[in-house]
Symmetry: C2
Subunit: 218 residues, 2 copies
């Protein structure tokens, strides 16, 4: 009985890692769709979101079943409850990847991102993906040190995000309001995606150490 | 023992209602601060957010304590788990009210919102507050019918949100890019706030009926 129980806890953790990988990959594809104005690729990202929602519901049902049948206490209880929260973070990330894909779709066959901001958005996307991959690793390894190192990439995302606003406010901005609106939203999507990845790692640190690494972290 | 248990469940529900009221009020004050360019009021909203975070952590600790000590099953278990998710929704809403206040703060003493969009943003804010008040009521009454009626206000918010984009894309837009960026973000903050309020009501409907009212709802 005890073994089946731990197998169920492990399955929940593996489910989270699977969704994290799927969501990281969705953001990679959404960004390619955006920067290459690739409609098919954009639409494939929209399909991924409903798959993530299905996986997420399955995972939540499984977590609730474990709570009901096994009635875990102490750390195991916190692990299951935290998994539910992480699952919600991942669902939001999937929705954010979908939002990026929708900008590509709406602007097709035009380019949504002007040349002078491509590098910034590409770097934001790559950092966001890397943070999600690191969060997935932290789910497996519970490595507090690795989780702490994610803060550096998150700071860099925030710096790039501020850079976008500075660029938009520059008197030399000549891409018009529609592009300014798209870029404003895109910047926020990547920044929120990265925040969720960092939250996942912070929640794991809290499980391991009992300490919140950021006073502002929910 | 059974009575203490239900008192604990009730206290969690009351805690959620309290936070929902606080968050609705924070959005009201943030919007006043925004539309009146009132720096003191904006700063008071920033103070509310840390109070919401404290309340939210207390509530989560209490929920986890109930799970550990009382080991609820069936509906009670789902109620507690759902409370944790609702608590996360409310924390996001508080952060969104804070974001609105920060726009007011950043633009002070200037007005962030041009005259021709004041009514739209005011209506979005009022609908968002009303949705939050309705969500708080649904937490108490578990009234599925009342929850369903919230979809109408949510549709109206989405319509206003689309109207903002149309307005921004209009060739007659003459408020510049900085204001376009602010208004883009503000529109999204209100729309997300409303989404979270609707999510809370939908989760309650799912608890009562066992049916998801929106296929896309997590």
């Amino acid at each position: 009985m005890r073994d089946a129980y731990h197998a169920e806890l492990d399955a929940i953790g593996e489910g989270l890692v699977g969704i994290a990988n799927l969501v990281g990959s969705a953001m990679a594809r959404a960004t390619s769709a955006l920067l290459d104005a690739d409609l098919d690729l954009a639409e494939s990202v929209l399909g991924t979101h409903s798959r993530v929602e299905d996986l997420q519901r399955d995972l939540e049902d499984r977590a609730i079943a474990v709570l009901a049948r096994q009635q875990p206490v102490a750390t195991d209880l916190r692990v299951v409850v935290t998994s539910l929260r992480m699952s919600a973070d991942l669902e939001r990330c999937s929705a954010l990847a979908q939002h990026v894909a929708k900008v590509a779709q709406r602007r097709y066959p035009e380019q949504a991102v002007p040349q002078d901001l491509r590098r910034t958005l590409l770097e934001m996307s790559q950092l966001a993906q890397r943070l999600m991959a690191q969060a997935a690793d932290v789910l497996v390894t519970r490595d507090v040190e690795a989780a702490a190192q994610m803060e550096h990439d998150d700071d860099r995302i925030d710096e790039l995000h501020r850079g976008i606003f500075q660029h938009l406010m520059d008197d030399r901005w000549h891409h018009g309001v529609e592009t300014a609106v798209d870029v404003t939203l895109l910047g926020r999507y990547y920044e929120r995606f990265a925040d969720h990845a960092v939250s996942i790692a912070r929640r794991m640190v809290y499980l391991v150490t009992g300490e919140h690494t950021d006073p502002a972290a929910p």
